[in-house]
Every structure is written in C-alpha cells, then in structure tokens.
C-alpha cells in the first residue's frame, strides 16, 4: 500500500483545478459574447438563411407637373416566378409555361431546374395570359404584382422625366435623381423552410407590405412644356436643324417651367431610339453662347463702372486687338451703349470686356455661375469653360465680350440672363417642387434658392431696358409679342470645331424675357446648325415670341402697361353715340358727356357724318371726327381726315394715332418712322392707308 499523495502532487492537482476554472470562465465569456452580444444579429442572419422571401414590389411614385397633371405613372401588372424546390413535374410545367408565354421550352426548363430559391419566368405579362396561367394552377409557379412605368404623355418632357427600368429603378432624368424617393420600399412574403426545403408549418410566415414610393411634383408646367416643344419642333423642322434646345424658366424663383430638346424620344419605348436622343443638351452640353452673352458683358461693365449709358462707341466694322483684327458683323458707325446692345455690336462688346480686364471679367463669370455647375437636381449637369485670368490673352478677353471662346450650358446661360430679370439676383434652377407621400400629403417642399446678387438692382433693370430696345428697335424685332414688352437678345455663334470656328455651322439662339416690366418667364431657344438663314433673330426669335405669347395667355399675365396701346386696352371702352343730324353743339355736348373728344370738320351747323361710326367701342378721350353740313369744294372732301405728322414716332405711337383717326397703317421696315405717305396735313378719306417707313434709330 503506497502513501497518500504528497504536497507537490496535491499542488499540481490544485493547479489543474484552477486551469479548469480558467478554461470554463473563458468559455462562459465566449458564450456571453456569442449569445448575448451577437445574439440578435446571429438570430437574424440565421432566420434570413432559413427563410425565403418573395418580393412584393412597391408602387413607384407618380411624377406630376406643377399643377398636378400626371407625367409618369405606375400601373400594376402580373409577373410570373417559380420556386424550383416546389415544382413537381418540371417538364410538363415548362411546356405549359413555354406555350402560354410564348417562350423557348429549353430556356424555361433551365430556369425551373435551377438551384435557386426563386427565379423569374417572365416579368410584366398581359392580364389575359396571367389569368390563363393562374387557372392552370401549376405547383411551384407563382404570381406577383409588379408595377410598370408608363408615361401617359409620350415624349412630352421626356428629357426631364428620364426613364425607369423593369426593376422599378430610375435610369435617367429626375427618375434617377429622385430614385430613392420614387422607388419606395419593396415588401415581401417570408416563409421559413427546413434545410431540406420543406415549408415549416408553424414557422415564420410573415407578410411585410411594401411602402409605396413618394411622388414628385415638378416645376415643369405641362402646357408650357407643350407650347415650348411645339415651337422648338417647328423651328428645328423649318430650319432643317441638327438639334434644338429650349428652356423656360421663372426668373424670380429659378423654377424650370419647360425644358425641351430635339430630337427626342418616347420613354415608353426608349429602346427604339438612338441613345443620343435621350441626351438633355439643355443641362449637359457646354456650347458657345454667342451674342446672347452680350447683355452680361454690358451688365458687368455698367456695374463695374467702366461704361455708362451715355458712352459712345465707334464701330468701323472691326477691332484690332494685339495685332489681330476681329470683325464685327456690320460696320455700325457710332453707337451709344444701348445702341451697341440693340445692334449687337461686337466691337463695342470687345471694348467693354477689355475695359473690364481679365480679373473682373472672370470674377463676374464666376458670380454668374458660368464657371461652376448650378447644382440643378438633374443628373450629368455639365459646365462651361471660361479661361482663368492667367490663361486669358487680351484677344480672348475681347472675343469673350461677345460670347465666343467661352462655353456654357444652355441652362447656365439662361440662369445668368434670368438674373438680370430678377433684379440682379441669380437663382438656382430646379426641377422638383415637392415630394408627396403615398396619400398625396406634402412631405417636402423645395423653395427657391437665391445664389447671389450678381449685379445691382439698378444695373439689372437698365440692362433689361436695353434688352427691351433690342426687341423693339434692334436685332430682336422678330421676338415682339402683341401686348407685352419683351426684353431679349439674339445670338449667332459660330460653332467651334477642333479648335477653330467652322464656317457655315452656326448655333442660332435667342433669349427672351417677358413681360419686361414685371418678368414672369425667361425663355432660351437654341437651334443647332440651321440650314439657310442662321441669324438668331430669324431662326430662334420667332420661336421665343410664340412661346412667350402663348405662355402669357396661358398664365393669364396682364399685358404690361408700359405702352400706350396697353394702357388703352386696359381702360374701359366707350360706345360712340349716334350724333348724325344733331347740331354741332348738341353733338359736342353728347360726345363730351361720354368722355369723348370732338374734332369738327367743315363749317356747317349740322353733323352729317361721324368717324368712328355710332356703336363703335373706343377708348375714352378718343376724338370723334364730325363732318358738318357745309360741303367743301369737292364732294369727296366730305368726312375727309387730315393726315397727322408721324415722323419720329415709334411704331406703336403711329399705330395709335392712325387708329384714332380711322386711318390704316402700312408698315415698311421697323424702328422709328422716317417717312410717310401721304404727307402730314393732306386730307384723305377715312380708312385711307398711310404708308409709313420705319428705320432702326441707329441706321439713320
């Protein structure tokens, strides 16, 4: 019999015991980490691994125009899927599916036999086909409602809207910018399975309903968009142009009311169009602005104090900068600043730019946001290039003064010009006004964002006024709109190709603002490579005029009161009473009572004729010409009208004067009246046509 264990032995066993204790504690800590700290995460992952979920798509949000008209909607259609594990007879099922859906049998069979929890058979099928398949009740084949994007207005505003793909994902346009909001959160049906693929009866079996996407309210107005696209299309077709861009913006807010491109595409069948057609040139492409840039040069010069409205410029038809002769499009002679803008004189603009100097010019270019992206809520915004002061040679600077050498996107150009219509404050352009929840409740409203005051209110107003003269008297006369003062500027840029200007390829543009007295819209139309005539005033200005005319009418903008004509039309009209056969005294009293003037012709006491005739509605204060009973030498002298002096009057004034006398006007040329026939003082019968020759003031 041996002795009991000694101290050393007992100590080693004690060591063993504590080692065991330590090991157990490590295990306990490890368990605590796994089960308590990581528990929830592991549980969730385990559940995810054990479950299969069938997607239930969320409805993609609607895109509305600013007045709540639907531009993009989602419609629910059926899609067929298979759960391969649940299919009993793959061959028979594949045959049935292939024949019903018009698919290839082999392809269907391949999908049905894939080792996957879930496979699509065909997405977004027709309702009748879905009904037929549902009736067949094939095991392992299921249906789910998917939403398909539909653009009810076809190609209207397609470049703004963009497109959404089959998986409810935005691919282009605002569809992609606000994809996350529009998309919503897909729901799912979750079923738990054991590792051998059998559904567990009492296991997790949940339905997670989808959260429908938010809707967008655009700043775009469907009607203005339609008007804009119609006019743009007309211009592009008429001038056989390569492409065209048009933007309508509210200068006070930066809201884009319309944005159009030609050529365009139908987002419902976007695959049928060349990819280039989907390009939104208005935002993505930097182009030379040409003369439409000139108002900005003038604004910079006036604001910086290097030019004033009284300054005169001499244009001999070209300017020599550092030894290089740059020609003007015409020899303008002597012009004042307004005239220089009106006549779009390159020499004057080059002078202004040179006076400003490279530093100032660049600083203003930055302030007008020509060197940076504006940050519009649209993908792929481009930006123009303006050489830095260090890169700018005097020649570049001079040429930039009239809008060549530098480039900018149409949006940058319009935003900068619109700042002049907004008292000098540049607004950030934007396309989305509001985000709406599924019930139509407003979740978020995007408000106008002023970027900065670029020039003073005074300068802005003065330049805008000069732009009115461009339309009234200068190169932009084709942009005149009945009833509204339009401020505008033409532009005809030579396209830059591989470092040089290419003769015969032009970018004709016009930018217009209306009404000039209280601007509501700023419009830019750019026509790329028109055939034949290429001046912006001829190619783009008529389109801008038409857009302004119809938009003003649509928006119910009161015609602005800055012209006599307008003032007249705003006042209540008076019905001319019948005064024939009354005595001159009675007739005069009667007419004055009605607030009308009297012009008695002839020396008789009884009125034998009156112009305008009884019943005519005329403006208060209109003189009614009364012919009296005493005949003059010639019988035809009866009711003759004396031709008034018209020389020196504007076209509106001439029209007003002749209208009041009941005479007709034949216009020759435009600008200020320089000649008339018959001459003043001649007596002519009523309704005689007076031929008046007008000339732009600078041409005199």
């Amino acid at each position: 019999m041996s002795s009991p264990p000694g101290v050393a032995l007992r100590r080693r066993i004690l060591f063993l015991f504590f080692s065991t204790l330590l090991a157990v504690l490590v295990l306990v800590m490890r368990l605590a980490w796994i089960q308590v700290a990581l528990g929830e995460e592991l549980r969730a992952r385990a559940e995810e691994d054990r479950t299969r979920s069938m997607p239930v798509q969320a409805r993609r949000g609607t895109i509305f125009d600013r007045r709540g008209r639907e531009l993009a909607i989602s419609v629910n259609v059926d899609s067929v899927f298979a759960v391969p594990a649940e299919i009993e007879d793959a061959e028979a099922t594949a045959a049935k599916l292939a024949s019903t859906l018009g698919m290839d049998y082999g392809k269907v069979l391949d999908r049905l036999t894939r080792r996957a929890a879930f496979v699509w058979i065909k997405r977004q099928i027709d309702p009748e086909v879905a009904a037929e398949l549902q009736a067949a009740d094939l095991p392992g084949i299921g249906f789910t409602q998917e939403s398909r994007r539909y653009y009810p207005k076809g190609s209207l505003a397609s470049h703004v809207l963009g497109i959404a793909g089959i998986d409810n994902q935005g691919l282009e346009g605002v569809e992609v910018v606000y994809d996350e909001e529009l998309r919503g959160t897909p729901g799912k049906i979750i079923i738990e399975y054991d590792a051998r693929g059998r559904e567990l009866p009492q296991a997790v079996h949940r339905y997670v309903p989808p959260v429908d996407g938010q809707s967008l309210v655009l700043t775009i107005d469907e009607v203005i968009q339609f008007i804009t696209e119609r006019e743009l299309e007309k211009a592009v077709i008429e001038h056989q142009a390569l492409r065209g861009v048009a933007i309508v913006m509210d200068p006070r807010t930066g809201e884009i009311l319309a944005m159009a491109n030609r050529p365009d595409y139908d987002p419902n069948h976007y695959q049928d169009y060349p990819v280039e057609n989907r390009r939104n040139l208005a935002v993505t492409d930097a182009l030379p602005p040409g003369s439409t840039f000139k108002p900005l040069t003038v604004a910079m010069a006036v604001e910086e104090g290097v030019a004033s409205w009284g300054d005169t410029f001499h244009c001999p038809g070209n300017i020599v900068i550092t030894g290089v002769s740059v020609s003007c499009w015409k020899s303008h002679g002597t012009l004042d600043l307004e005239g220089a803008l009106e006549q779009s004189c390159n020499v004057a603009m080059a002078n202004l730019a040179l006076r400003l100097g490279a530093e100032s010019f660049f600083r203003y270019a930055e302030a007008f946001n020509l060197t940076n992206r504006l940050g519009i809520d649209f993908p792929g915004e481009g930006k123009g290039s303006v050489p830095t002061p260090a890169q700018m040679r005097p020649l570049d600077l001079g040429v930039m003064g009239f809008g060549q050498t530098l480039t900018m996107t149409p949006l940058q150009l319009l935003s900068a010009i619109a700042a002049l219509a907004n008292d000098g404050v540049l607004m950030k352009p934007y396309l989305v006004k509001q985000l709406l929840g599924p019930e139509g409740e407003v979740l978020q409203t995007f408000s106008p964002t002023p970027l900065r005051q670029v020039v003073s209110e005074k300068t802005a107003r003065e330049v805008l006024q000069a732009m009115v003269a461009v339309v009234e008297e200068g190169t932009g006369r084709n942009a005149r709109v009945e009833g509204y003062t339009v401020a505008g500027k033409t532009g005809t840029a030579q396209k830059v190709v591989a470092g040089g200007y290419e003769r015969g390829r032009y970018l004709s543009s016009f930018v217009g603002i209306a009404p000039a007295s209280d601007p509501r819209i700023a419009v830019l139309v750019m026509i790329d490579e028109p055939k034949g005539t290429y001046y912006g005033g001829q190619v783009a200005a008529p389109a801008v005029a038409a857009i302004i005319r119809d938009t003003m009418r649509y928006l119910d903008v009161p015609p602005d009161a800055s012209t006599a004509e307008e003032r007249a039309s705003e006042e209540p009209l008076v019905k001319v009473p019948l005064v024939i056969n009354l005595s001159v005294e009675d007739a005069t009293m009667e007419l004055r009572r009605q607030g009308l003037g009297v012009d008695v012709r002839g020396g008789g006491g009884v009125v034998v004729d009156q112009v305008p005739p009884a019943g005519a509605a005329v403006v208060r204060g209109t003189k009614v010409v009364l012919s009296t009973s005493v005949r003059s030498a010639s019988p035809s002298d009866n009711a003759m009208v004396t031709v008034p002096e018209l020389i020196g009057k504007s076209m509106r004034e001439v029209a007003a004067v002749l209208g009041a006398l009941g005479l007709r006007l034949e216009v020759v040329g435009s600008g200020i009246a320089v000649n008339q026939y018959p001459e003043a003082g001649e007596r002519v019968p009523p309704a005689t046509t007076i031929r008046v020759e007008f000339q732009p003031p600078a041409d005199r």
Binding site: S3, P4, P5, L9, T20, I34, V36, L38, G39, R43
Partner: protein, 365 residues
Amino acid sequence: MRRAKSPDFVLFLAMVMLLGIGIVMVFSSSAVDASVNYGDKYYFLKRQALWALIGLGALLVAMKVDYWRIQPYTKAIFLISLLLLVVVLIPGVGITAHGARRWIDLGVVSFQPSELMKLAFVLYLANYLDRRQRIMGSFSRGVLPPLILLGIVFALILVEPDLGTAVAIAGMVFVMLFVGGAKVLHLFMVGLASLPAGAWMVLGEEYRRERFFAFLNPWADRLGSGFHIIQALYALGSGRLFGVGLGQSRQKLFYLPERHTDFIFAIIGEELGFVGCIFVLSLFFILAWRGYRIAVSAPDTFGCFLAAGITTMITLQVIINVGVVTSLLPITGITLPLISFGGSSLVPTMAGIGILMNISRYTKS
C-alpha cells in the same frame, strides 16, 4: 481493511443531472431526424436511455469494486483496449461510417474502441505513475515509456482516422504525466518536437488547412468550410439569453450537422439560451471540482492519479467540445461527455465516475 464512507453525493447528483439533460437534449435534437430517417422519433432517445442504463450499471459495479483491486488489472485492460484498436481496423470487423473505420459491431449496437482507450489509458497511467513517481524526473525511464505507448495509440486512432480523439488522449496523457511529476521542460520539449508532425497532419493538405482554420473566420466561406461552425453560431446566437424554448430549435431542422452528437451543446444553447449553457457548464465544473477534490484527498497516490486522470479525461473533453462549438477551436469531433448521443463514450465515462465515487468513499475528510 479500510473503512468505507458513503460516496460523494454532490458528484453523483451533478452527473445524474447532466445525464438527464443529455437524454432530454438528445431527444429534442434528434426527434425530427429520427422520424424522417427511422420513422420513429424516439429512435435515438430509446438507444440513449438504454446506454444510460448500461452506464448506470457500469457505474454501480465500479463504485462497488474497491479501486485498488483494479490496479493489478490495469495493464491487461490497456492491452485489451489496444487490441481492440487494432481489431477495429480490420475490414469486415470495423464498421466504416463517414469515411472512418471507428466502430466495432456488437450486433444490436456498435461500439468505439477509442472511447474505451481513454479510460484504459487513465487506468494504465495511474498504475504507472504510482509505481514510478520517484523516477518521473527522468526522461528516458520515467516519461518516455508512456509516450511510446501514446505514440502507438495515437497512430492507431489516426489510421481510423479520428484525429480529434487522438489529440484528446494525447492531451490527457500529457496532463497526467505532469500530475505524475514529469518535468514541465520534458513535456514542453516533447510537445515542441511533435509540432512539425502535427503541423503536417493538420496543414498538409489544402482542404484540411481550410477546415482547420475555418473557425478563425467562418464567414469567409460560409457555404463551404465555414458552414458547420456558422450553423452552430446561428444556433447559439438564436438562443440569446433564455433560449427559444425546449424543442423549439430551428437549427436542428437539418441545418446544423452532428446536432445530437458533437454539436449538441449548440442546440442546448439555442433552446435553453445562455442561462442553460451556464447551467450545464456549472454542472461540469462541479464535477471537476469534486473530481480533483477526491484526487487530492485520496488515501494513496494510485487513487490520486486515478481520480485526477478520470476528472481530466472528462473536463478536457468538455472544454474541447464547447471550445469547438463556440468556434474557439477548430472542429475536432469530440463528444460532450454524458450529454452527446452514443454509448461508447457514455459507458466508459460513467464507469470512470463510478471509480471516482469509489475512491471518494475512502478519502480523508
């Protein structure tokens, strides 16, 4: 003749509770399996209950036979076990399952000689250390002979192959040699010397290397080498603090492999939660505590070595098993004593506890 006290009741109680938990959990984790594969959801439960009865019988016999009476037979028991390890390798005698020839068919049931070898080696070493404790400081005469035997045993088990059990036995032998007075330096040098061989065995082939290191980052190959351990972590994690409830495990639905054998602890963790795990580990710790207590207060060194050896045999397996399930150690294939399904492990373990209880009757209090 020594005077016998009543055996250690706390030890017995802990063992019975573990046995009970084991039977319940074997049923819970195997019921679905059993009904799918054998058409009888009680298939594994019945067998485990039967094994528990046999184990209880072995325990009672071992408790009755005074431990010193075993000492003369320890060599014989060891040799028989060794013989069985050879026999199991003979085709036709050994049953191959999962690519390993580990079992001997006894008609109704099968039995794993390597499990018997664990106890047999403890018995053999207790005797060896008792006789040579004065020369254990010597490498050649004290430490080397049992290591040679270990080498033979290790090789035989490795051929089956069953690397996990071989490593567990090696660990147990090392611990016993340490307790027996071997110099730590000697053991350390031996360990160091066998490192290249071990490294070659574990890392020699790409798939083994992958499996071996999968526990470090199971997520790297979650459907391949990491799958097994991830399913275990899923089970443990799903249990969280209080478990999903007895019988409510989802991971046992064919997701977690070895769910009623090597990885039963993961199902315990899922159904009974962290609290359940702590409870089971506590019971094992009580077992270790009582076992080592019996060892230090044994009336003689043979009893001391025997008690320490049996206790180590059990606790070492518990630590390795739980370490594997919690992804602290690479997957080895070691069962959780008293709980995992299988009689080959249960009967020797319970017999060992019977011996422990017998020793406890003669401890000095």
